[in-house]
Symmetry: none
Subunit: 228 residues, 2 copies
């Protein structure tokens, strides 16, 4: 879910913006004061910020500067002033875009899309990898290694092991696992689990295989060595 923080002290504009953005499927968080906005931005960073410069309690430019000290979240500034100097200052202090009121909703939405597009394309960090002891599961690559050695798993085997690795050390019930891997309607096919548990253990080798333990009558669990 893409979340957008909208900051404006005029309830009418706030309402319009929220409606327009929500209609496009964004999750909208609102703030009516600069203080409230900063509070939100220190706890959960949204995917973009739409910020009215003319707030009651503080200058929008100060908010830009403050936010920029800890986050690169795109900021789209709205302002009633068409002052060139104001624009330049806001843009230089961290705003990514500056729209002069009155603005059109389609244009604002287009500029929001631009801001989000950029964010999406630069998410070039390393893959999120699930770990449990020597077991590494790279979800986007669908690659599994144990003690550095690659492990070849079939799709179902992979799904089952990934489900277990998501909650290291915790028991997943038969039902939960079947639901996760086979989908609904397989709640009673516990035999599948035995077969796949066996194959996974075999493929993980004599050492790794011992990580996958069954809790009789309940389900399966992946031992988390960091907890022992």
């Amino acid at each position: 879910m893409t979340t957008i923080l909208v900051v404006d002290d005029e309830p009418a504009i706030l309402r319009t913006l929220k409606a327009g953005l929500t209609a496009r499927g964004y999750e909208v968080v609102t703030a009516a004061t600069g203080r409230a906005a900063l509070n939100i931005l220190t706890s959960q960073i949204p995917d973009a910020v739409v910020l009215d410069l003319g707030l009651g309690d503080m200058d929008g430019v100060d908010i830009c500067r403050a936010v920029r000290s800890w986050s690169e979240v795109p900021i789209i500034v709205l302002s009633a002033e068409d002052s060139e100097h104001r624009k330049v200052v806001a843009l230089d202090e961290g705003a990514d875009d500056y729209i002069t009121k009155p603005f059109s909703m389609p244009e604002l939405l287009a500029r929001v899309r631009v801001a989000l597009r950029r964010r999406g394309s630069t998410t070039d960090e390393d893959d999120p990898v699930l770990r449990c002891g020597q077991l590494h599961i790279d979800l986007p690559r669908h690659a599994v290694t144990f003690a550095g050695e690659p492990v070849e798993l079939t799709p179902k085997e992979f799904a089952m092991l990934a489900a277990l690795t998501r909650y290291p050390g915790r028991v997943l019930t038969h039902r939960t696992l079947l639901h996760e891997v086979w989908g609904p309607g397989y709640d009673t096919e516990t035999h599948y689990l035995r077969v796949y548990a066996s194959q996974i253990r075999k493929k993980l080798g004599p050492v790794g295989g011992q990580m996958l333990v069954s809790e009789p009558g309940i389900g399966y669990r992946l031992l988390d060595p960091s907890e022992e």
Copy 2:
């Protein structure tokens, strides 16, 4: 040295822009036609582009779209038209900003700084030639070579191979590939992928063909020799 490409067919504006940007220490390259601009952009990618939409020989939006197929260079669009629809289209087709003429030089400079600031933080060197082992893909020219030998690909084949080469060694899911090449609405047509994977392998030859491997049940992947 920071280089900016300025595209405008009116000599007077071109001169003004060049003077303003040069005074701020940027290296300025100019083009008076869309064709000239694309020529420059296929060989050396500047750090930012200032593009007038109203060119004599082609529509600026088409330039945006074309450039976006191989580069993420920031594009700031200038236009005499204040049409909302035009703005939305340009922004959605790849423009990063849209300024309506007449504009002020300080504002333009501020927006150029915003564009460059972003680029600076995403150390994302913009090479229009993708490489993966002996495979070279020249995006702007739609040219592919393997081991120096040219490979003739159809548009769809090219798009699919380019998508894979953008992430060497990574699995792209069936969904992702279909989305990338055929657009939304083809999520289930995995047969297309098999047909095209087969054709690409054939055209890459016995050696190159082995680079394209399928991850059963998941998607396809281009082997990255530098990783093995």
